[in-house]
């Protein structure tokens, strides 16, 4: 089991699996957000320069809003992600896997001020490395986690071939490995597929190297129930 997977039990008696995001993608997301905010400020300032002192007042208010309100609004109203997080396929959730709400989002974003200390998210980074869920102080206080969003993948189809009963009886996990192999077969070159197939020695012994991958795919066809 990968270290960055977190399971959350639900009332239905099932476990949700979340992929917790570490410091690097989160720093990237933050940088993108910073860029967005700078662009907004510079663009608006160019316009507001014409307004003189009122313009200064407005840009101060704008900077305040971008600093403290921007992340909260986006996280609550835009599926848990600021534009930067969305770019990096990250999302903020409550610890129980539900979408982040106002109070939690406000808490985690105000505590940003402490995470930023002593400079450039020093405390935040140390805290992230000290707990299993990569939570910075704001996340710990608010009870939130940042996770990678699952991108909807095209369902992988097992290439159809004449089913073949495996010549060795296989444990469930071995069957599953074989099915996974067949599902991903189309993504690899023939050489790579043959290299991987060579590991399943008891199944492929005595078969010429060009045929091993095909043989495994045929067995997978049998395992998923094609007859």
């Amino acid at each position: 089991m990968l270290d960055t997977l977190r399971t959350i039990p639900t009332p239905e008696g099932i476990e949700l699996t979340l992929k917790v995001a570490g410091p690097v993608p989160r720093a990237a997301a933050w940088s993108i957000d910073l860029m967005f905010r700078l662009i907004i400020v510079l663009a608006v300032q160019a316009v507001l320069a014409a307004l003189g002192k009122v313009g200064i007042g407005i840009s101060m208010l704008l900077w305040f809003a971008l600093e403290w309100i921007y992340p909260v609004l986006f996280e609550v109203l835009w599926q848990g992600a600021t534009p930067g997080k969305r770019q990096c396929h990250l999302r903020v959730l409550h610890e129980d896997g539900t979408p982040v709400g106002w109070r939690a989002s406000v808490a985690r974003n105000l505590i940003r001020a402490v995470d930023f200390l002593p400079f450039c998210y020093g405390f935040g980074l140390i805290t992230m490395l000290l707990n299993r869920d990569f939570k910075r102080l704001g996340d710990l206080a608010a009870g939130t986690i940042v996770v990678h969003t699952e991108r909807a993948e095209k369902p992988l189809a097992i290439p159809s071939a004449e089913p073949l009963i495996p010549n060795v009886s296989l444990a469930l996990w071995e069957q599953r490995a074989l099915i996974d192999f067949a599902e991903r077969r189309a993504k690899w070159s023939d050489a790579r597929a043959a290299e991987l197939a060579a590991h399943a020695l008891p199944l492929t012994r005595g078969v010429s190297e060009g045929e091993t991958a095909k043989r495994l795919v045929r067995m997978a066809n049998y395992l998923v129930g094609r007859r």
């Binding site: 008696g13 007042g57 109070r103 505590i111 001020a113 402490v114 009870g143 699952e150 369902p155």
Partner: protein, 354 residues
């Protein structure tokens, strides 16, 4: 059952569920359905409408439990990773749709009328502690400087005092023209940006086991008391007190309340009781955030008064004093007398305690 048969039997039901929760991510399903319609091609419009027909909203929870069941089966039978992944994604999306709808938390009006004053009274011990930490050094500095004026230079650097002194110099004030509206607005932006940020830091500093909050409260108390004491001692009474009278009620109350929130954070970490530290903090977070909201609103109000009323030189100083006193009475009466604890406050607790 073999995987292929399983998929063939239930695949359509999963797709319908996927469409149903994708097309209606929240209670505002109609709106988002419209959006989906405007965005997609005619073919998928039909699909969306078909999904709504196939799977009415009251059917979604049952279908969700079915998908959960299928995921459990798929895992138990070691079906292929791709299938398990797909079901996991469905379950996660369904979980978020079904359990994510916490709804609005009473609204701002409700909070200001009832929740906030009641909250301040509920957490009065923290408010009191914060007020003492802030006001004791303020008053002490002020008093000491009346008898030992040089003490001001011990607390604050002389340049800063000279700066402040120049700002409130009566000649400066009388001779200078009335500040016009646009620089008032610039100052408003500055006050909001700066003062509300101080509130937030006061609160967030609580996370350093309360030390940050205590530091900010003492520091602000010392420097405000010193400036006030110094300016009073050298006789700039009308300019200084006339200026600060108007917004002092909102501003000082805001600092005290954000300090109270910070102290609550610190105490939750220092004395969590029979819970883990961050669990204790989390269970008190609704109250803490409520205090910070309120403090930020008060400070915002203070910035408004400071920029547009306090700086005005037209009204005589007596009126400014009077307005200041009235605002103090209103603020304290609001916090002390209005509002009753509403069920909304306690139900939010439940959400955090989960």
């Amino acid at each position: 059952m073999r995987q292929e048969l399983f998929e063939a039997r239930y695949g359509e039901r999963w797709s319908a569920f996927e469409l149903a929760i994708g097309a209606s991510p929240s209670s505002r399903s109609k709106k988002s359905k419209k959006k989906a319609v405007s965005n997609k091609t005619a073919a998928s419009v039909d699909a969306v409408i078909a999904a709504a027909d196939v799977l009415p909203a009251d059917e979604v929870p049952r279908r969700y439990r079915e998908v959960c069941h299928h995921l459990a089966l798929a895992r138990d039978r070691h079906y292929g990773t791709a299938l398990v992944r797909r079901l996991e994604r469905l379950v996660l999306a369904g979980h978020q749709v079904l359990y994510g709808a916490h709804g609005m938390e009473g609204g701002v009006g409700q909070f200001l009328r009832h929740g906030f004053p009641a909250l301040v009274r509920k957490r009065f011990s923290y408010v009191l502690a914060s007020a003492l930490l802030f006001l004791a050094p303020l008053i002490a500095c002020f008093a000491v400087i009346q008898y030992f004026p040089d003490f001001a230079h011990v607390v604050l650097p002389s340049e800063q005092l000279a700066n402040v002194q120049q700002m409130y110099a009566p000649d400066n004030f009388r001779l200078g023209a009335e500040r016009n509206a646009d620089s008032d607005f610039a100052m408003f932006g500055f006050y909001v940006w700066n003062n509300v940020r101080i509130d937030f830091q006061c609160f967030a500093g609580g996370l350093l086991f309360g030390m940050g909050t205590i530091f900010f409260l003492l520091f602000n108390g010392l420097s405000i008391g010193t400036m006030a004491g110094h300016l009073t001692h050298i006789g700039y009474i009308e300019t200084f007190w006339g200026f600060v009278a108007g917004h002092s009620a909102f501003e000082l109350t805001g600092i005290v309340l954000s300090g109270a929130a910070g102290l609550m954070v610190g105490m939750s970490l220092l004395a969590p009781g029979r819970q883990r530290r961050f669990a204790a903090l989390k269970s008190r977070m609704p109250d803490i955030i409520g205090l910070v909201y309120g403090a930020a609103l008060l400070t915002f109000l203070a910035a408004f008064v400071e920029a547009f009323w306090s700086s005005s030189r037209i009204p005589p100083v007596e009126i400014k004093y009077a307005v200041g006193v009235v605002l103090w009475i209103i603020t304290l009466a609001y916090l002390a007398l209005t509002g009753t604890a509403t069920p909304a406050v306690s139900s939010e607790n439940k959400h955090y305690a989960r």
